[in-house]
């Protein structure tokens, strides 16, 4: 399948730092590619090189719209750009403009190149996001500002979506709406590059993930593969207590220890770290009477370290 977005050996070097160091990745139509990395890993640099804001020091980037070869590969070509939606990581818009005035500007530019988009699409998206477009940007909360950015990125049913930290500042309900919108775009064949530093978000939405660390792509694989080796931190409350030592012999269990929590009726709470599947652990715990399981978020650092170690091995 032809990639909608591709980088080959992309290097972006500044005077004192290499922000992207030989990054090669491909996002295919109908795929969500999660670009993971902590702040400063080079995610935004890679994105900005792909979208023509920055010139690569070496290597190449390519954007292609499937079925429209006449649009070429020049990402600054407005006709091609009509098919690309972009949400910057640090969204800034003219503070005195209302959401309606801002969206009208973007709609007009798209219409000037014949893109099938209008106020109806704006209203439909605003309704999905529960966004009031009559208010000035400066008066909007951080979450509502982000909604304006998401709306602009989704205008005109783009074939390629590039979203830099799209759920930043959004409440959980709206985060779900945004992830649903992304899934809908994927379902109609759009290619989506989504940068995030939240592993759970990548797990929830991405088909493939790339992990950036200090400008280098240390991992590029299916999200299911990544999660199969990622560590899970579980806090399990049991009716009766097993011996810690017994649990450490269970395949996948890295550590297990008791947690001082307010227990009732003699229940015991354990903190357990598992690498990969937790199936064997649950099989072992069932006889002890599982009362409650809480899963703590896996820190992205752990995935990075695992990826780096794996790459070095």
């Amino acid at each position: 399948m032809t990639a909608a977005l591709e980088t080959r050996d992309l290097i972006k070097r500044y005077v004192n730092v290499v922000a992207a160091d030989g990054v090669s990745l491909a996002v295919e139509p109908g795929q969500v590619y999660g670009l993971l990395g902590p702040n400063g890993a080079g995610k935004s640099t890679v994105i900005r090189c792909c979208l023509g804001y920055l010139r690569p020091t070496s290597g190449s980037t390519l954007i292609r719209v499937t079925g429209s070869p006449s649009l070429g590969n020049d990402v600054r070509n407005p006709r091609l750009r009509c098919r690309v939606g972009y949400l910057p990581g640090d969204l800034r818009l003219e503070p005195r403009m209302t959401g309606r005035q801002i969206t009208a500007f973007h709609v007009s530019l798209r219409k000037a190149y014949g893109a099938p988009v209008g106020e109806v699409d704006v209203d439909r998206l605003a309704a999905r996001l529960d966004l009031d477009l009559s208010r000035r940007f400066a008066t909007l909360s951080k979450g509502n500002r982000q909604k304006v950015g998401v709306l602009l990125a989704l205008l005109g049913q783009p074939d390629l979506l590039v979203l830099d930290e799209p759920t930043t500042g959004l409440d959980p309900l709206v985060q779900d709406v945004v992830l649903d919108l992304i899934r809908e775009h994927r379902a109609r064949g759009a290619a989506i590059l989504l940068s995030t530093h939240i592993l759970a978000e990548a797990e929830a939405i991405a088909d493939r993930v790339g992990v950036l660390s200090r400008g280098r792509l240390v991992t590029d694989r299916a999200v299911s593969d990544l999660m199969a080796t990622a560590r899970q931190h579980l806090v399990v409350t049991l009716r009766t207590s097993p011996h810690d030592g017994d649990l450490r012999t269970v395949p996948g269990v890295v550590s297990a220890s008791r947690v001082a929590e307010a227990e009732t009726d003699g229940a015991e709470t354990l903190s357990i770290t598992v690498e990969g599947s937790a199936r064997a652990l649950f099989d072992r715990l069932v006889p002890f009477g599982i009362e409650r399981i809480r899963s703590e978020q896996t820190e992205l650092d752990e995935v990075f370290h695992a990826s780096v170690e794996e790459g070095a091995a």
Binding site: L54, R55, P78, R79, R96, S108
Partner: protein, 270 residues
């Protein structure tokens, strides 16, 4: 089409500021006219005091050629040699600093360029917007001058189109330095550098035409100073010509164009 959309959006975003400047400058021009009768009535005493000033001071304040108590002398020395172009330059500088470099620094440029819009179209449209804003502010304040002048006997000896000719050539002067601010901002992304470059060149140009009239070896400065292209042509009585209008406008276009070319090719500081 895209350029028109950018222009319309620029007007939407900036109209409050442009309107405030327009009203302020028009009121300032009216105030300048109000002072004229009292200075004229001082008559010979005032001119004698002017003549007692050092030559350099008279040149600096545009008092060398004509009597300050005559309508043309007053308008040239008190309005067109300094305060009028200065306030218009401040307004157009603020727009030129905002157009690319300011938007790049505040982060709005990245989102604007996420729309289907070529960089050069955005830059050219905004430069046209600045030029039109400058022209509109000058036109309105010139209208105030032209309509009010008869009430203060400031129209004596002036052709009917005198104020309009002076306004048009002053626009040429303003656009030269505004283009420098715009171009440096577009080429570097640094608003401070842009404003510093434009301001420095405007001051150097102004002082250059003053020094040129004080010392013969410095006369060449007149030929390269846009201030002399404007003031040396008797702007209130001579119709705009190649040197007073075509030359500064052409120079402004070349400078702004150079900025757009670099802007099209460089990394954005986003």
């Amino acid at each position: 089409m895209s350029a028109l959309i950018v222009l319309r959006q620029m007007l939407l975003e900036r109209w409050r500021s442009i309107l405030a400047w327009t009203v302020s400058i028009a009121v300032l021009m009216l105030v300048m006219l109000v002072f004229y009768p009292s200075i004229r009535d001082s008559g010979a005493d005032f001119d004698a005091w002017i003549q007692s000033l050092p030559e350099s001071a008279r040149q600096t304040f545009g008092l060398a050629e004509a009597s300050m108590t005559s309508p043309i002398g007053y308008l040239i020395s008190q309005v067109y040699s300094n305060i009028y172009p200065l306030v218009v330059i401040i307004m157009t500088f603020s727009l030129a600093g905002w157009a690319i470099a300011g938007c790049e620094a505040d982060g709005t440029l990245e989102t604007t360029l996420s729309a289907p819009l070529r960089r050069w179209v955005l830059a050219v449209a905004r430069f046209i917007g600045i030029a039109l804003a400058g022209l509109a502010v000058i036109a309105i304040s010139t209208g105030v001058l032209a309509l009010s002048a008869p009430f203060f006997d400031l129209d004596v000896g002036l052709p009917g189109w005198g104020f309009w000719a002076a306004g048009l050539t002053m626009w040429g002067l303003v656009m030269v330095y505004t283009a420098v601010v715009f171009a440096v901002g577009a080429a570097t992304g640094h608003r401070t550098w842009a404003l510093a470059a434009g301001s420095a060149l405007a001051v150097i140009g102004f002082l250059g035409q003053v020094f040129a009239s004080l010392a013969e070896p410095l006369e060449f400065l007149q030929t390269i100073s846009p201030w002399y292209w404007f003031l040396g042509n008797d702007p209130l009585t001579q119709s705009p010509g190649w040197v007073s209008l075509a030359l500064p406008v052409t120079l402004a276009l070349v400078v702004a164009g150079a900025g757009v070319v670099v802007f099209e090719r460089r990394d954005l500081a986003v």
